[in-house]
């Protein structure tokens, strides 16, 4: 069966979606990501969607679900590389992707995850 590869980089997991996502592939990715977050004790997930030519409400919902599940497992999610035509379409479709952090590219996305991690560690230090 097809699978979207998940790469580990330091504290973070990297996913690059390179294929036209069919529904089962999206659900497999959800399962794989959550188990890998736990296995690698990952603190962040970066999802690159620059190759996606379309995001419909199903894929949008999947991204939101991944972000929520990751957060429950103490990992932040950032979605990077959305094509401008996809962003325009999403707004007209009525999908605001609330609760999903985005960044323009992988580099900025990594910086966002690093910053979020530092902020949380500071908060933990302050509490103890």
């Amino acid at each position: 069966m097809d699978r979207i590869p998940i790469l580990k980089m330091g504290d973070f997991l990297l996913v690059s979606i390179q294929v036209d996502m069919h529904d089962r592939l999206a659900l497999t990715l959800q399962d794989d990501l959550t188990s890998q977050i736990v296995r690698h004790r990952a603190r962040g997930v970066l999802i690159d969607i620059s190759a996606l030519e379309m995001v419909d409400s199903f894929i949008g919902r999947m991204l939101g679900t991944i972000a929520s599940m990751a957060l429950l497992l103490d990992a932040e999610t950032v979605v990077v590389g959305m094509q401008p035509s996809v962003a325009i379409t999403l707004v007209e479709l009525g999908l605001s992707l609330r609760g999903i952090r985005t960044a323009l590219d992988v580099e900025k996305g990594m910086a966002t995850l690093q910053a979020a991690l530092l902020k949380r560690e500071d908060a933990i230090d302050a509490a103890s």
Partner: protein, 134 residues
């Protein structure tokens, strides 16, 4: 209005939705739609194909290339023999969902198209036609 080309595809599985998206993308490019217009129409097709599969229990889509005077466009006609929709205006409301989706399928597809037509009744299945002109 002239139909220059027509193709019918099944919508019976999640893979079929991908095939529909690819076919709509191909025709949109063929007609010279810009990238944003292509993306909007492919997204509308994806939403309606998923509705056909999830709510209609599967069905078909007819993809037609149209010419109307100097205008050209693409019409997609989704048909299923599912339970039908009792209250169409409610089903068209943003956020209304009968399943576990986000309720953007119908209203979103309408916003992403230039023309939208829906014909449905309980026990009679559903037929939805959308057009995007170039």
């Amino acid at each position: 209005m002239q139909v220059l080309k027509a193709e019918s595809l099944q919508v019976r599985s999640a893979e079929d939705i991908v095939i529909v998206r690819q076919a709509v993308r191909r025709e949109s490019i063929g007609l010279g739609f810009g990238l944003v217009d292509q993306t909007k129409f492919v997204t509308a097709a994806s939403e309606l194909a998923r509705n056909t599969l999830d709510h209609g229990g599967g069905g078909s889509v007819q993809i037609e290339v149209l010419r109307n005077g100097i205008k050209s466009g693409i019409r997609l006609v989704f048909e299923d023999q599912g339970p039908g929709i009792a209250n169409i205006s409610l089903a068209m409301t943003d956020g209304y969902t009968s399943g576990n989706g986000m309720g953007l399928g119908l209203s979103g597809a309408k916003r992403l198209s230039h023309e939208f037509e829906i014909d449905s009744a309980p026990g009679k299945g559903t037929r939805i036609a959308i057009i995007r002109w170039k």
